[in-house]
């Protein structure tokens, strides 16, 4: 690997640093860029000013099906698919752009940022690996993230059919008081 292209490497570093800015974990960087682990570590420390968090990535598919994460995940995957289908974007470019657009939406409406970039990346991998898919809500027709193996014939989304006490968390109660 001695005769690597400098331009290609610069592009990889650019991609890695924008991913780090958005909050990617080291595992995401390792699989999406061709840079070595040492360089990624150095880059991470330079951009963030601290060492990357250690430990495994969150890997539960069920997390994406709980009420609030499901709404955020559905919003994100909608944007991502739009970029891939309509604009023929590369996978990782579409991920970064879709995540930026998602963050914009969250900030515009002053919502909590539920989906981190790492989670968004995992979500896309679950879609590629066909663990999760989207299905149409029977009432509103929007596309929502569901388990591929579940039955979806009478699916109602979490926004048409809000579960009782959804979104009424302890933290929210405390901020109101």
């Amino acid at each position: 690997m001695r005769n690597r292209s400098v331009v290609a490497e610069a592009k990889q570093i650019d991609l890695a640093s924008s991913l780090i800015h958005l909050g990617a974990r080291l595992q995401v960087l390792e699989s999406e860029t061709s840079l070595s682990r040492e360089r990624l570590l150095r880059l991470y420390k330079e951009v963030r000013g601290k060492s990357p968090p250690k430990g495994m990535l969150p890997y539960s598919t069920d997390w994406f099906l709980t009420w609030q994460p499901n709404i955020h995940a559905s919003l994100f995957i909608g944007i991502y698919r739009y970029l891939v289908k309509q604009c023929h974007q590369e996978r990782i470019d579409a991920l970064v752009r879709a995540y930026r657009l998602y963050l914009e939406h969250v900030q515009a409406f002053k919502m909590d940022q539920v989906l981190s970039l790492t989670r968004a990346w995992i979500l896309v991998r679950y879609f590629d690996g066909e663990l999760l898919c989207t299905t149409d809500c029977n009432k509103c027709g929007g596309q929502f993230v569901v388990h591929r193996q579940d039955l979806h014939s009478n699916f109602l989304c979490g926004l048409c059919n809000v579960p009782s006490r959804a979104g009424k968390t302890k933290a929210k109660k405390e901020t109101v008081q």
């Binding site: 909608g78 970029l83 409406f109």
Partner: protein
Amino acid sequence: MKIETLLDEVRETNLAYLMLAKHMISEDKAEAAYRLGVSEELADMIGSLSTGQILKIAGSNMLMCRFRFDDQMIWNLVTSHSKDHVMGNVHAAILMGSQAVETV
């Protein structure tokens, strides 16, 4: 409203809309296509318009932009005065993302 002022305002809106669209497309085409709700081909076409062409299109008596949603459901979501208008907007965004796009 007098017809002259009406036409002037239509032209002004057209011009502002087209300039904004062109600007957004030159910044980042994919993001602009998502925001505008158009296909990549149409975004390419708008992006390649010259200033003279934009002026020509904008000088029409018809509006060049139109309503994004023709769905009663989305209208209700974005206009509702209920407490949870944030959730309504997310819902609308999810529905709009899965809608068909404007193509050439």
